[in-house]
């Protein structure tokens, strides 16, 4: 069975536009792909079918984490793989999905050969980065809280900038209106705290919300680019300090977390060209 549209709505219903009318009693079966611990048998899912539209309930079924092949089963016939014309990527829909509290994410995927898949994975709350701007020795970041409920009212949050493998940390004010946060990191304090005995200083960014025990790591996970390191780059700002110049720039880590990288740029450069400490 071929489908023209396949998406998982925010309420974890898989919505399908079928290329041909469905027969009465048709049902979707999910069969695990890969993974040695996955059960071998497929799971029959609650399916509502009307004409060329089908809805599959992925909310309550105890689907284990992993990837599932979506198959179409009709009475009296063995199930067959479903193929999709849909690229299964809609950035706005993904952001809407991530903005709701959840510990589990269900997504429809299209394999390169066209097979329709469903991926289930456990998620943790984090701070999704939407924009990063580097200007005037300051890094400005906007984004939203993902997979967690926003605070009831607008609140003053904090951006925690923590030096990796060291105790040094700075906190800068951050605005939080509903789930949307805005913050700015001035680079000179980081440059002054640069540990010149290390070739690189990494600073990891966390959003701290009053009344919440854990901070939210800043990451960019909503789009389809897995592995932004080396693909997305930000400009370097040279900051002069009494102990020498430091180059600082935002970067994405291997796990798509947003961090800042400081590099000792050697002796203090002549005046002009860099940001004043």
């Amino acid at each position: 069975m071929r489908v023209q549209m396949s998406r998982v709505r925010v309420d974890d219903i898989l919505e399908l536009d079928l290329a041909e009318p469905a027969r009465t009693g048709a049902q979707v079966v999910l069969r695990p792909v890969g993974g040695r611990t996955a059960p071998l048998r497929g799971r029959r899912m609650r399916t509502w079918v009307g004409g060329r539209r089908a809805y599959v309930d992925l909310r309550w079924e105890p689907l284990t984490e992993g990837t599932w092949a979506v198959r179409w089963s009709e009475p009296g016939r063995s199930s067959r793989q479903m193929w999709t014309d849909d690229p299964c990527y809609d950035l706005a829909a993904r952001r809407e999905y991530a903005a709701r509290p959840s510990r589990r994410e269900v997504a429809a995927l299209r394999a390169p050969d066209g097979r329709l898949l469903v991926r289930v994975r456990r998620v943790r709350p984090y701070a999704e980065v939407r924009e990063v701007e580097v200007r005037d020795a300051t890094v400005r970041i906007t984004g939203f809280l993902a997979h967690t409920a926003p605070p009831d009212t607008s609140t003053a949050a904090e951006l925690l900038v923590r030096q990796r493998d060291r105790a040094t940390a700075f906190a800068f004010p951050a605005g939080l209106a509903q789930e949307v946060f805005r913050c700015a990191v001035p680079l000179p304090p980081l440059a002054r705290a640069h540990a010149h005995d290390r070739p690189h200083n990494e600073w990891d960014l966390w959003l701290r919300v009053p009344g919440r025990e854990r901070g939210y790591r800043l990451r960019a996970l909503c789009d389809d680019i897995v592995g932004k390191k080396g693909r997305v780059a930000f400009p370097t700002t040279a900051v002069r300090t009494d102990s020498g110049a430091v180059d600082l720039r935002p970067y994405f880590t291997a796990a798509d977390g947003l961090s800042l990288l400081g590099t000792g740029a050697g002796p203090r450069p002549p005046s002009g060209g860099g940001a004043e400490d």
């Binding site: 193929w83 014309d85 950035l91 390169p112 050969d113 066209g114 693909r231």
Partner: protein, 384 residues
């Protein structure tokens, strides 16, 4: 029919390799097909090859780290230049040297095949000079005549008329060849690159993504595309330019994005095996090339229902894009016009949808079964 394709190295990545692999797979449905590489550069081909197609390599490339130890004689020969290919062609492609020339000479003398199809000017020259009249000798032009340097054009003028036929990618190029070589009507034919047989997705045309794909080399002018994209980025900060491919111009593209403050908006995605799958996530595809041999990127965008905005450069885009119907052609090398064309389609979702539907319809004519049929007709006619 027994059909042999001659290629530099089928294990690499590039437009000629991809289209040869697709065409060979299509022809293998009814014919015995083999692809012969002059020099093998990897253990396995980058593009999946139809199992019915036989792969054969005449030598192992010096550039292949895992190649079996060659004999002393081969090692000496491969340090010597090829003598029968134009110097520029030998410099462009590392597969040409005295060892590969000797191996090809032996192969062509003994080949038991009905047709040999060579896939680049140097191979066309070798086929014309060393091939036998026991089989049909067909050359292919995967760029266009005007893109070739003077020494290659001179070689073509002096030797390629000996071939039994030539396929080019555009009508414009066919006219150029007709003016250069005194050959009868029908000797050269326009034969588009085929769209591989696959299930193609269809873009929803909703994501704020402009995509492009190709090797990051000067002729593609990706820094120019970044300049044009700046106009979109200024008005629509959500939009992103994704560049798929790798190559020596990566640093220049990055530098242009930084210079224009487009960090985070220009993403260098690296190479992908699933170009159409990636294009299907985009809403527009853009081309900024100085020249194109054909414009396979355009056909791939059309296959997934994405309109294309391109310079009206020689030769491919003009023969593929119908302006206002399935994309936009802007005056050649006019960066402002390219930016304006992108902006127009970014801001008009309804026009994108209409053009996307027309583009998908047009892509049908490049399906591999259509192209295979045209090849069969051409080869039967030439054999006759």
């Amino acid at each position: 029919m027994r059909i042999t394709f001659l290629i530099g190295d089928v294990h690499g990545m590039g437009g000629t390799i991809r289209s040869t692999v697709s065409l060979a797979g299509g022809l293998a449905q009814r014919h015995r097909v083999q692809i012969v590489s002059l020099a093998r550069g990897a253990a396995r081909p980058f593009f999946p090859v139809d199992p019915r197609v036989r792969l054969r390599s005449l030598t192992d490339s010096r550039a292949w780290a895992g190649r079996p130890e060659p004999s002393r004689r081969i090692r000496e020969l491969e340090l010597r230049p090829a003598t029968l290919v134009p110097p520029t062609e030998a410099r462009r492609s590392a597969v040409f040297n005295a060892a590969t020339e000797e191996a090809l000479c032996a192969f062509l003398a003994r080949a038991r095949t009905d047709v040999v199809v060579a896939t680049r000017p140097g191979l066309n020259s070798l086929l014309a000079l060393l091939g036998s009249d026991h089989y049909l000798r067909i050359g292919q032009e995967h760029l266009n005549l005007r893109q070739q340097t003077e020494d290659i054009r001179d070689h073509i003028r002096r030797h390629h008329a000996r071939l039994d036929g030539l396929t080019v990618l555009t009508d414009a190029d066919r006219r150029d060849y007709a003016a250069l070589l005194d050959r009868p009507e029908g000797w050269a034919i326009t034969m588009p690159n085929p769209l591989p047989d696959a299930r193609y997705p269809r873009s929803r045309l909703v994501n704020p993504v402009i995509a492009t794909a190709g090797r990051l080399i000067p002729v593609k002018q990706y820094p120019v595309l970044v300049q044009a994209f700046a106009r979109v980025a200024a008005a629509h900060p959500e939009w992103q330019l994704r560049v798929y491919g790798h190559g020596p111009q990566r640093g220049r593209i990055r530098a242009m994005a930084d210079e224009l403050g487009l960090h985070g908006r220009v993403v260098l995605m690296g190479r992908t095996r699933d170009v159409t799958g990636e294009f299907a996530k985009a809403s527009l595809v853009a081309l900024s090339s100085r020249q194109e041999g054909f414009g396979m990127t355009i056909v791939e965008a059309f296959a997934v229902g994405v309109p294309v905005v391109s310079f009206d450069c020689p030769h491919g885009p003009r023969e593929l894009i119908e302006p206002g119907r399935d994309g936009l052609l802007v005056p050649d090398q006019d960066v402002d016009a390219l930016g304006a064309g992108l902006l127009r389609l970014v801001e008009d979702a309804a026009e994108r949808q209409r053009m996307g539907a027309a583009a998908r319809e047009k892509a049908r004519r490049f399906r591999v079964d259509h192209v295979v049929r045209r090849w069969e007709e051409y080869l039967v006619e030439r054999l006759g």
